[in-house]
């Protein structure tokens, strides 16, 4: 974990954009994946929301959320130990990672209850 932290260097300003970039990639993957699956192999409407598609999208979302949550925690920890500019970067990035994680959860919630292709 320590080496992972060091290599990531969470005080770097690039982290300011990584969180939301991950959210964007997740969003495109989920929307794109859903559209392609519905065009190519839509599950039967009678299944409602209990389809393999929903399951797959949901698992993928959980994975990304976990990654973002871990990065939030890493950024928060790093921010506490740094000073000055890197501290600013790390703390604001941690906030952005947190927002991105919650963003994935919030935006992805419909996967639980809504049938995929109607």
């Amino acid at each position: 974990m320590e080496t992972a932290f060091k290599r990531l260097y969470l005080g770097h300003p690039a982290h300011l954009v990584v969180g939301l970039t991950l959210w964007s990639i997740w969003f495109v993957a989920v929307y794109g994946g859903l559209s392609v699956a519905c065009a190519v192999a839509p599950p039967a409407p009678a299944q409602g929301a209990w389809t393999g598609l929903n399951l797959g999208l949901g698992l993928f979302s959980l994975l990304i959320t976990a990654l973002l949550a871990w990065l939030t925690w890493a950024g928060w920890k790093a921010g506490r130990e740094l000073t000055g500019r890197p501290r600013f970067n790390a703390l604001v990035s941690a906030g952005l990672y947190l927002f991105s994680a919650l963003g994935v959860v919030f935006t992805g919630m419909p996967i639980i209850g809504v049938p995929p292709c109607l």
Binding site: S35, T107, P110
Partner: protein, 847 residues
């Protein structure tokens, strides 16, 4: 902690001997010519003003169009405008306001203010600013001219297909829109790229990223959003114009196209567009409130957070304009949730403003009146926006006047009111005089009350079921009284706006001369003379605080006395600092070009291209494309070590080198930023390809791909080898090695030519029928893209070889190859991705 000094620093009229000479010398180097030569001005102050004034002219035109609309809708069963003309008027009202007013005027404000706020003397590519202005002017004139001819576009300002395609809009209307808007977008894109690089690399010494004015963060986000968000529309416009002119069926169902593709491409641009409009306006609010509260903005970090979040999330909302097209509910739910998420960063900003006012001692001057108006109107608009994000509600009010009301609340409230606040605030800087208080207040109240009268009622009209874009309605619907009230209020609002414009016009003659820093502000733009000199600052200070003028009230005087950096004019160059993007440490001296005719003539050539495409005189268009290309390349010739730029690289002892003698100057950043825009265009293209392939209702794909994989791979190899040569050359330059430099450039150009030839060969032997199937049309566009980029890389490398021979590039000036190699890298990546997407994937997956 910042100490707040509320004493204004009097401008010292008695300059010491040395300072006056310095001013004269700087003026000679930076001064603006008069008469016809004013067309050569590249200075950001002048160009920023030009953008803003031209924007206001288009605003008035758009406003007149809106009054025509309200007049017609005031009473039922009206037809003083036939449905045909009415559709032209509504389409042009939206188009003019969105493309010819909102974006350019905010760009103009940014162009004017950013260098002054970050302690620079100009933007980083002044000739590009000028090109941007003329493209905007010519594009706007061409588009507006369509109204004179009664041939204006009439399919709505978002031009949905198939209504806007040649079958259902056979005249020139749609073409005016497609070509005119694309022309204007070149202007926006170039400004976007330039602003990004300027903010990141030309801040004055010591101004680290987290010390720069909050306005600069907003504008940085806006510029990056333009860079990523405009290319999808450019692609869409190119495709639709090809469909109309040549018959390539991208959006036509029978040919395998899909009208929804247009909607996706348009809204991929369209949604970020409204945030591109909102963010600078919010930046104005975040700048003015601390000044009028007399204390720093509470939660600078929070606001940065909010800006970054808004910038990203706004790209994930576009489908909320398409909730009724039949996309699966689950997908709609994603966009609905994301649309609600974006309320959070906006609310954060609102409460930061409130907290700042709460913790400060607010002064209620005229700009603050407009900000109060902004708050009320924008919050209202934001609330209806959150309602609209709810899908079932959206299904009721989509395409009704409710949406029209919402849109005007957020756009007028969120952009126009802050713009007026900013205008009144910075007016003393523009002109050196104060605006009037009385007329200003009258103007505000008429506008505010008139606006609310017009559009508040309109929510109700929409809920009663009145659709958009109907040229009239029957009596007896219950809509009459509300429309009449809206129309009357519309006239009140116009009166208010007229008063404001009159006030501004009059103040140039009758306004009280302004004291230095009349609002007691904290940011550097107020260290300028009022109105500013062409060179902004006599000397560039070292900054280590977010509030330079509060923490050091003496700063304007010491700057004017030449006590800080770059107060040198002996070399005759226009100079400013090039600094590290994060820390603000000085890295280079950036030398800037002086006045030039190239931007004007290049824009003129492009205007001829635009008009010839419009009138379908394709031969002429082809000729002038070449002429424009020649102009642009010839312009680029006058760079770096060229006699017209900076042939001698002498700097004072202790000063950093000129940027053209390093390998990491702003040009590298500009090329990289441009590559992001280019990449956005390419990704939109790939989206179009995969979209049509999977979802288009009557997609037809041949069993066997018409593209020869062998030829394409050979082309890719040639290009990769060429890029490899370029990389080797650049690496050599970094270690002071220039053996075989010119030869190397010619070699890579040759390899580039081989790639071009092979791609052309694969195109010619593919036997494509681009007017028959959208599949072939998409392939054609992709190959032409590869051809164009390959040819560009080839030409630029060849030119580098020539410049080595002329002595403009070499060990002493290694800058340009570092820029050109970025294009090669971009080309290699995109070409292989293209081969994979067009050539390999279909073979692997099948139709």
């Amino acid at each position: 902690m910042t100490s707040i000094n509320r004493e204004a620093t009097p401008q010292d009229p008695q300059q010491p001997e040395g300072a006056q000479t310095l001013h004269d010398d700087l003026h000679e180097i930076w001064g603006n010519p008069r008469g016809i030569k004013a067309l050569t001005i590249v200075n950001h102050t002048t160009l920023g003003l030009r953008f803003m004034v031209t924007g206001m002219v288009f605003f008035v035109i758009g406003g007149v169009l809106s009054m025509l609309i309200r007049t017609q809708l005031a009473t039922p069963d009206q037809n003083f405008m036939t449905p045909d003309i009415y559709s032209q008027v509504t389409t042009m009202h939206g188009t003019v306001m969105m493309f010819l007013f909102a974006i350019p005027i905010l760009e103009g404000l940014a162009i004017y203010l950013i260098p002054k706020m970050i302690g620079a003397r100009d933007l980083v590519c002044p000739r590009l600013t000028s090109l941007g202005y003329f493209c905007y002017l010519f594009g706007g004139i061409i588009l507006s001219f369509s109204m004179v001819l009664e041939m204006a576009p009439d399919a709505g300002w978002f031009m949905y297909t198939p209504l806007s395609s040649s079958e259902y809009s056979p005249g020139l209307g749609s073409d005016f829109w497609l070509l005119g808007i694309t022309f204007v977008e070149i202007s926006a894109l170039s400004a976007g790229v330039e602003i990004v690089v300027s903010i990141l690399r030309t801040r004055t010494q010591g101004m680290a990223l987290h010390k720069m004015p909050i306005f600069a963060w907003y504008i940085l986000a806006m510029a990056l959003m333009i860079v990523v968000g405009f290319p999808p529309l450019i692609l869409g416009s190119v495709l639709l114009e090809l469909e109309r002119a040549v018959g390539m069926p991208f959006f036509e169902v029978a040919g395998g196209g899909d009208p929804l593709l247009w909607q996706h491409l348009f809204w991929l641009f369209g949604h970020p567009e409204v945030y591109i409009i909102f963010l600078p306006a919010a930046g104005i609010v975040s700048t003015l409130i601390p000044v009028f509260a007399g204390r720093p903005l509470v939660g600078y970090g929070w606001v940065v957070f909010a800006i970054v979040v808004t910038g990203f999330i706004s790209f994930g909302l576009w489908v909320h304009h398409m909730f009724t097209v039949g996309i699966p509910q689950l997908a709609q739910a994603f966009f609905s949730a994301a649309s609600m998420l974006v309320a959070i960063p906006t609310a954060i900003q609102v409460f930061v403003w409130l907290a700042t006012l709460w913790l400060g001692k607010p002064r209620f001057k005229l700009p603050m009146l407009w900000i109060l108006g902004f708050l009320i109107i924008f919050v209202c608009g934001g609330l209806t926006g959150v309602m609209l994000a709810l899908v079932p509600f959206n299904w009721q009010v989509h395409d009704t006047h409710f949406v029209v009301a919402h849109m005007h609340y957020v756009l007028v409230g969120g952009m126009f009111f802050p713009l007026m606040a900013g205008l009144y605030y910075w007016l003393p800087l523009f002109s050196g005089r104060m605006p009037s208080e009385t007329i200003g207040r009258w103007g505000f109240w008429l506008t505010f009350l008139g606006f609310n009268g017009t559009f508040l009622i309109m929510h109700w009209t929409g809920l009663l079921g009145m659709p958009r874009r109907i040229y009239t309605y029957e009596a007896g619907n219950g809509w009459e009284i509300f429309n009449l009230l809206s129309s009357i209020s519309g006239f009140v609002m116009s009166a208010g706006i007229a008063m404001v414009l009159i006030d501004i016009a009059l103040h140039f003659k009758f306004g009280k001369p302004a004291q230095h820093n009349p609002w007691k502000a904290d940011t550097l733009e107020w260290a300028n003379a009022m109105p500013p000199s062409a060179y902004n600052f006599v000397s560039l200070p070292k900054i280590d605080t977010r509030h330079p003028l509060w923490d050091n009230p003496d700063l304007p005087r010491t700057m004017a006395e030449g006590k800080h950096g770059l107060a040198v004019t002996s070399h005759g160059r226009r100079e400013m600092w090039g600094t590290d993007s994060i820390t603000g440490k000085v890295r280079e001296i950036i030398h800037l070009p002086g006045n030039s005719w190239w931007p004007f003539f290049a824009a003129l050539a492009l205007a001829v291209v635009c008009v010839s495409l419009l009138t379908r005189v394709y031969a002429l268009a082809g000729v002038f494309v070449i002429i424009a290309g020649v102009f642009l390349l010839r312009w680029s010739w006058e760079n770096g070590a060229h006699p017209k730029a900076a042939p001698d690289a002498e700097v004072r002892k202790g000063d950093p080198p000129l940027h053209s003698r390093t390998m990491s100057g702003p040009g590298v950043w500009a090329m990289a930023t441009f590559s992001i825009a280019n990449g956005s265009f390419f990704l939109s293209y790939l989206f179009g390809w995969f979209y049509l392939w999977t979802v288009s209702p009557q997609w037809r794909m041949p069993e066997v791909s018409p593209l020869s994989l062998v030829v394409l791979v050979a082309a890719g190899v040639a290009m990769t080898l060429g890029a490899g040569v370029m990389e080797r050359l650049v690496r050599g330059l970094r270690v002071n090695q220039d053996r075989g430099l010119a030869r190397g450039f010619y070699m890579s150009a040759l390899l580039g030519a081989a790639q071009v030839g092979l791609v052309l060969w694969s195109l010619l032997t593919a036997g494509l029928e681009p007017t028959r199937t959208s599949h072939d049309a998409v392939l054609l566009v992709g190959l032409v893209y590869a051809l164009f980029h390959g040819a560009l890389a080839m030409i630029l490398s060849a030119m580098q070889g020539l410049r080595v021979r002329h002595g403009y590039v070499g060990l002493h000036a290694p800058f340009e190859p570092a820029v050109v190699v970025i294009l090669w890298r971009y080309n290699v990546v995109t070409f292989w991705v293209l081969v994979g997407a067009l050539g390999v994937l279909p073979r692997v997956i099948g139709g």
